[in-house]
Amino acid sequence: MKQYRAHLLVCAGTGCVSCGSFKIKEALEQEILKRNLQDEVQVVATGCNGFCERGPIVMVQPDGIFYQLLKVEDVPHLVEEHLLKGRPVKKLMYVPPAEKQPVPKMKDIEFFKHQRLIVLRNRGRIDPEKIEEYIAFDGYEAMAKALTGMTPQEIIDEILFSGLRGRGGAGFPTGKKWAACAKEKATPKYLICNGDEGDPGAFMDRSVLEADPHAVLEGMVIGAKAIGASKGFIYIRHEYPLALKRMEIAIAQAQENGLLGQDILGSGFDFDLEIVQGAGAFVSGEESALIASVEGRIAMPRQRPPYPAQKGLWGKPTVINNVETWATVPNIIRRGADWFQGLGTETSKGTKIFALVGKIANTGLVEVPMGITLREIVYGIGGGIPDKRDFKAVQIGGPSGGCLPAKLLDLPVDYESLTAAGAMMGSGGMIVMDDKTCMVDVAKYFLNFLQDESCGKCVSCREGTQRMYEIVKAITEGKGKESDLAMLEELAKITKDASMCGLGQTAGNPVLTTLRYFRHEYEAHILDKRCPAGVCKNLIRYVVLAEKCTGCQSCKKACPNDCIKGTLKDIHLIDQSKCIKCGACKEACKFEAIEEQREEAIQII
């Protein structure tokens, strides 16, 4: 094998690719050729590093130097300085917000320091399109162990004992699900990998599929042996082209190498995999809806029981697990259930991946041990709230999760604590909000999402979400009534109570948690016709503050509706009759001379 003195690991996750990491990779390769270093330095495209805020990212190994926010112009300088002269380039390194000195090594950066990588262990270090690289990092070792040295019952016992719970949201013990399916007599049995990730702001499954497709594959072969399945399906959203492509490559490579198909590793065990593309409905993530979708029917959940483990795909016993769950399995088999048991809390074991987004300094993907507090994630790893604003809430668990306020920042992140607080683990979306966020507006956003994405089967969910949206919308427009809050609570509770599937049963959460922790904001909208955060357009008006306006005209240029009057160096005025309240003027103003004010306050003056 060819030995290189340095490896340039270019992040090729979707985030970095959209910032141009493929161009960086090309430029690096050309530059290396130009300087005749191609026999000494290798450029590798890896899966997502998680620090998407700072893309495109390049890691230089074996030094462990982390370069961020790269541009094509930086490449020649980088190659010359670092690879020829051996001087890491300081100006391309990460500088923490409050400091001046750059942090050269990845392992010293706060964002990476507190993470515990198990599922994402290969992120940013292997090329996901090369099976050899996965194998070099202990890949398929667990599969070999399971196929040649373990009975199905031993595999199930190992998973049961590890305490692994489903990472798709509900947290059902994976081992129990497998055991239930294994004891069914009907054949053939099927396996499904649920990669229909639809939460706004969530990209955990996408990253796992893009960064380490073989880990998912390996987990599924182990699961197949445990329950006696001969065929598996990987359901991936059509909107994830890169994940689809890498999974196709992974399956083809595994088949070529005898790791999938007939007589795997000479053990006499047959198992094959097929990719199914999702058509982009949020509800397809619900297991019975997903099965309907794989069968070619409309993605509409059905009554459970019978559970898929008893009657699933085409009426046969089927195990459905989330991408992250499958990718955890090989780690447990390889390192043992005892090791996995030691991570996390009493009831929630192992690690969980979260997509940290919203008003947070370090946007990205993080894998943390269960039981870590929200504060450690938001302030430790996430670097806190940018622009010196205050933390207001964090929305956990996707659209049907809940918004948790600042007083719950010390809450440990595990299945039980989150559910008790009114949120849920969900698939792991974490949206951070600052004090400029209106919680009624947030509830409206998620209700709008849910009324669109409800499959529409149950009256409670279809009509419930629509009516809740109507009421919350009226409140944000200043048309709320005092009786609305009781009505909302009643509707939210009944929607949760009476609906058939997980979507409806959690659809009331955005309303219930915002009402529980931010009731005063609803009251301000209804009683005072005021939006405390200055977000709801009907309740505010933009005004130029005469004492701050310099007459620079930048707001006038920004206004899309030509409603700002004023000549250069003269105080400007906003024509309220024409203003569409888009807020472009406020963003354009460099002197903070435009402010949103309450409608009535102005009327009184």
Binding site: I298, S454, G456, S460, E490, A498
Partner: protein, 227 residues
């Protein structure tokens, strides 16, 4: 035989029965709308919900789709069940206030107001028509389209269906196609005529002789109750 408890009673169900089947067998009344004996249960209208389990783990399930399970504890008329049923009637009435079936149910369950803006879509998306078309008429000429707030029932591509034989089964089974009776306040959301009205025929005949269903059901010869 599957043995479980329903409203405190020990009941026995045959293999393959749902909770609704069992309740019917024992004469316990559970209201239904999207259920029809000749069709596959759908579980969409949520009127037939019952409470299963006990304590914190109890939950509501649709009895028309939930299979009878050994040792289950079922309550068909708890406060939680009633609150849900009444809300479902209210939500559906706001969609189709012209439906006689729904209007009658409102009176039966004492739903006296609709607190939502009326939509008058005249369809509650119960799916009875799509199922009778597919399962009894073997046509599958109509089906659900879209999801969530755009959900509707139509023919493929909204075009005239080639498989439709104009048999009219969809209209026959539709709970919204039979229009409400012309009570005294037909223009309001909820009629509730049955709550305040009594049939006039009772004055003329001591024994009930109305040739329409049961007395007063037709709604044509009612008068306000003499209190």
């Amino acid at each position: 035989m599957i043995t479980f408890r329903m409203n405190g009673l020990e009941v026995k169900a045959e293999e393959g029965w749902t909770l609704l089947d069992t309740a019917k067998f024992y004469g316990l009344e559970i209201p239904t709308l999207c259920f029809h004996e000749g069709l596959t249960p759908h579980g969409g209208c949520r009127l037939c919900v019952v409470e299963i389990g006990e304590g914190l783990r109890s939950k509501l399930v649709s009895s028309c789709t939930y299979p009878a399970e050994e040792g289950l504890v079922v309550r068909t008329d708890s406060a939680r069940v009633w609150a849900s049923r009444r809300m479902m009637i209210e939500l559906m009435l706001a969609m189709a206030p012209g439906s006689k079936v729904l209007q009658d149910m409102a009176s039966q369950f004492n739903v006296t107001q609709v607190r939502f803006a009326l939509r008058n879509t005249e369809c509650v998306l119960c799916g009875l028509c799509t199922r009778i078309c597919a399962e009894q008429m073997d046509a599958s000429a109509i089906g659900f389209q879209q999801r969530g707030l755009k959900r509707k029932i139509s023919t493929p591509f909204d075009a005239r269906s080639e498989t439709c034989r104009l048999c009219g089964a969809c209209m026959y089974i539709c709970p919204a196609c039979q229009l409400r009776c012309q009570g005294p306040n037909a223009e309001t959301a909820i009629c509730n005529g049955c709550l305040t009205m009594e049939p006039t025929c009772l004055e003329h005949y001591d024994d009930l002789q109305c040739w329409m269903y049961d007395a007063g059901r037709c709604g044509t010869c009612v008068q306000e109750k003499k209190s």
